[in-house]
């Protein structure tokens, strides 16, 4: 099996999140955290201990949580509004739309335990729709860190950036990525691996699987570029232009097949650079199952991504298939 939870040297990105937030808050008194009772699941205990007055727990009430975030921004604070991604983006979607995106307040929304991290707890607790919902709110920069280093970069950037941000985190253990000359610039994809036959575009918890798929494909003589597309909005269109030149694209994300990273890439390529795009993600509500089961049945594995790369290549113009 090739699932993330079986890879050694894994990190829970929530640890980097709270460590960075505590650090940022030490130097910026504007920074506060707002939660819906989710101190534990957001791993904010250390923040609460360091800054008890700056952790605003509104109770189990997501609408007022997001509204309070907007109000705190009006009052000059920099609120990090943290809750399980499913409730933050689903329950409070109209507040996210009207109070944060449309009003354009300097609010940082932090979606915890996103995707199918809650696995067996089922679709009510999965957050696979969030990419599509948030992509429609164009004023919100949406960042999907892939490992602890990127979580830290994203939090530090968000704290000093003026404008609404959605940072999508997971509790799913992931390895630290080995990406050459890595820098974090929102809206600018990282080339995790070079390649010329096909481009795999991944984000978040899936990026390390895409990198492993690169190695698997290399053993078969296939040169696969891997992009870590850590920003869903705005999309790095130049990176997709370059990806299209490899003649085939795979997208892989821990999100709904519709409207997310794959949807964004498909929209862009259809309009600008027609090219075969194979999309991997979840096709709607998921059945009961553990992470391994859910990832495997949707092809979100090293082998599944490699197979999708071959399917995309087979669809290349002139491939004869």
């Amino acid at each position: 099996m090739s699932h993330a939870v079986e890879v050694k040297g894994l990190y829970d990105c929530r640890d980097a999140w709270v460590k960075t937030l505590v650090d940022v808050a030490a130097n910026d008194p504007r920074v506060v955290a707002v939660v819906n009772d989710s101190v534990g699941s957001s791993k904010l205990g250390a923040f609460q201990k360091a800054y008890p007055d700056r952790l605003i727990n509104v109770g189990i009430a997501e609408q007022v949580m997001v509204g309070v975030g907007a109000g705190l921004a009006n009052g000059g604070q920099v609120p990090f509004v943290s809750a399980a991604a499913c409730f933050l983006t689903g329950r409070a979607l109209e507040q996210v739309k009207a109070d944060v995106a449309y009003a354009n307040f300097n609010v940082k929304l932090v979606g915890q335990s996103s995707g199918v991290a809650y696995a067996e707890l089922g679709p009510t607790h999965h957050s696979i729709e969030d990419f599509a919902w948030m992509r429609l709110l164009k004023t919100i920069t949406t960042v999907v860190p892939a490992d602890p280093w990127e979580v830290e970069q994203a939090i530090r950037w968000a704290a000093q950036h003026e404008g609404p941000v959605f940072i999508r985190l997971s509790r799913m253990p992931v390895p630290a990525l080995d990406i050459p000359d890595r820098t974090f610039t929102p809206g600018k994809a990282q080339v995790a691996r070079e390649g010329s036959d096909v481009t795999i575009i991944a984000c978040g918890t899936i990026t390390h699987l895409a990198i492993a798929a690169h190695d698997l494909l290399a053993a078969e003589g296939i040169s696969a570029r891997v992009l870590n597309m850590h920003t869903i909005n705005p999309l790095d269109e130049a990176a997709i232009d370059a990806a299209a030149q490899t003649g085939a694209i795979v997208t892989a994300e821990e999100a709904h097949l519709r409207g997310g990273l794959g949807g964004a890439v498909a929209e862009y390529t259809a309009g600008h650079r027609p090219v075969p795009v194979e999309r991997l993600g979840f096709d709607g509500f998921q059945p009961t199952g553990d992470l391994d089961h859910l990832f495997t049945r949707s092809g979100l594995t090293i082998e599944g991504i490699a197979a999708a790369a071959k399917r995309a290549m087979a669809r290349k113009v002139g491939s004869g298939k």
């Binding site: 007055d53 509104v58 509204g67 705190l72 009006n74 604070q77 609120p79 009207a98 449309y102 009003a103």
Partner: protein, 269 residues
């Protein structure tokens, strides 16, 4: 008060009603019934209560007013204009193509608008956040938020009421425009709100009931200070000031024809 603000409030309220109705007549769009029930509350705030400076809408220590019943733009735009936040010629563009003055207020285009409202039940939670920020920073500004009474049917208000009561946000005042009508019927025949006073008291608030068309009573109630968040239930008349509009539900978003407009302007003197 060094000077009695009541005559000025009455003068501004009259101008606001005449101007708002002219805007609605011109646009053939708007919510004049709710504009008129809220007009005296807004005039009292902007000309008798709020510590604000229209030349500095971003002043950190300004009192905040949030118009949660964002559909009543005839009232909030005329109040902000009368206070000096933007020039009067903007009002003629109300809801015209490309205007800054949308049917619901947008803070990014209209100075003095504190947050974007329109969907009901949004302004109150934002006001709670503003009040928390003021308390955190030790600032002495006050935050006022006006909701409709029908708007109180939105559950988000009760989330906000609970948080404010729990945190004893004494720098926060909620005003409820209690005109007893919603879009098509009375509040009490739709999904009853009474007793609003006892509900807010149970949530940890100080509650006062006032005549929402009496500037002296409004200024006194809105200027009072206590140890807990304050809820002012302002008893009002939807369509106040125009005989054929008062307490008639259809004027929630009814718009006047030329004859109705002329009659209203003759009455609003």
């Amino acid at each position: 008060m060094q000077n009695d603000p009541i005559p000025l409030i009455r003068e501004k309220a009259l101008w606001m009603r005449r101007t708002a109705f002219t805007m609605v007549h011109r646009a053939q769009l708007g919510h004049p019934g709710g504009d008129f029930s809220a007009t005296d509350i807004l005039a009292s705030l902007y000309f008798g209560v709020l510590r604000h400076d229209p030349t500095r809408p971003g002043w950190e220590d300004r009192d905040r007013f949030i118009m949660s019943k964002g559909h009543a733009t005839g009232a909030i735009y005329t109040a902000l204009c009368a206070a000096g936040y933007f020039p009067e010629d903007w009002l003629a563009t109300y809801m015209q193509n490309g205007s800054r003055l949308n049917g619901h207020p947008n803070r990014n285009y209209v100075p003095g608008v504190e947050t974007n409202t329109g969907p009901l039940g949004h302004g109150f939670p934002v006001a709670v956040g503003i009040a928390i920020a003021g308390a955190l920073q030790g600032r002495d500004y006050r935050t006022y938020v006006l909701t409709g009474d029908g708007e109180q049917q939105e559950g988000s208000n009760w989330e906000a009421a609970m948080v404010a009561g729990h945190r004893r946000l004494r720098n926060l005042t909620l005003i409820i425009d209690r005109n007893r009508l919603q879009q098509g019927a009375g509040t009490e025949e739709t999904s009853g709100l009474d007793p609003l006073d006892r509900k807010y008291e149970a949530f940890g608030w100080e509650v006062a009931m006032v005549d929402g068309h009496d500037p002296a009573a409004l200024v006194a109630a809105l200027s009072a200070r206590g140890d807990r968040p304050r809820c002012i239930i302002a008893n009002t008349v939807k369509g106040k000031g125009v005989s054929f509009m008062e307490n008639v539900a259809k004027w929630h978003h009814g718009v006047p024809n030329d004859a109705e407009y002329a009659q209203a302007m003759a009455e609003l003197v």
